[in-house]
Assembly symmetry: C2
Homo-oligomer: 155 residues x 2
């Protein structure tokens, strides 16, 4: 496994994190290089998975009415086997857009998006609370997404 990233790599990552469509040519100009080294660096960053992939950011509000809810889930006992089981089932549920194992008052934080309130109650009841070993499920309904850049601040 090769070593770490130099300053140029980091600048490339930052640019691509902002706009994945920025061309090799443009990046090369910004960095005062020619296209070849930039191209090879990007390919290396992709191959070594510093870049996991490229995605389109959709304006979900315009596409379809929906609500998103953060669900705070506690297990009754944090035995490894229960955790693993829970995590496996989470992966299959498309309504769950993100899931974090956290420390604190509860064990998991889920970001769920569904059509409407009815759909959420149904989902929470039949897909989450019904899993084995679930303790409490609390919900925080998103009223407004104020910021969602997801830019890595340490670059």
């Amino acid at each position: 496994m090769p070593e770490n990233l130099d300053s140029i790599d980091r600048q490339i990552l930052k640019i691509l994190e902002n706009d994945a469509k920025t061309g090799v040519k443009t990046i090369a100009e910004k960095l005062g290089l020619t296209k070849t080294p930039v191209y090879e660096r990007i390919k290396r960053l992709e191959k070594e998975r510093y870049i996991k992939g490229y995605v389109a950011i959709l304006n979900t509000d315009k596409i379809e009415e929906s609500i998103t809810v953060f669900s705070f889930v506690s297990l009754e006992a944090q035995k490894g086997s229960f955790m693993d089981d829970f995590l496996l089932r989470i992966q299959e549920l498309k309504e769950i857009r993100a899931c974090y194992v956290v420390g604190g008052e509860f064990d998991f934080l889920l970001k769920v998006t569904v059509k409407n309130l009815d759909a959420y109650y149904n989902f929470a009841k039949s897909k989450i609370a019904s899993l084995p070993n679930i303790g409490a499920v609390k919900s925080a309904f998103v009223l407004n997404e104020v910021k969602n850049s997801e830019h890595f601040p340490l670059l």
Copy 2:
């Protein structure tokens, strides 16, 4: 303003949400069309901001040691002016990668990433708790990111 999306538009959005680098040619083949209509649809989806943009997904773990924390913030009084003030300040803080206005026990959910625990305590104290009208700030430290597809499930 034109009307809504048809089935082809939705399929295009889904493909691009999974991999923004999918070419016009490839998409056209998958949908049984030629390049032109696919190309024009994508341009339309971009111009009308169904697609907000394209970004690279970085493997932040590999780039630099960091911790991410969800912070639950309550205001002392939910007066509109205080909310607006809070939201303005949030935008400037690069450590805050996402911010949601929520309903429930608290008012805002922040996703924060910083170098380490020290940096977080410092950040929470000097940048969040010090803002006017802040009630409580609770924290949930992310131990593991289990899922973060962010795919819109209603497509």
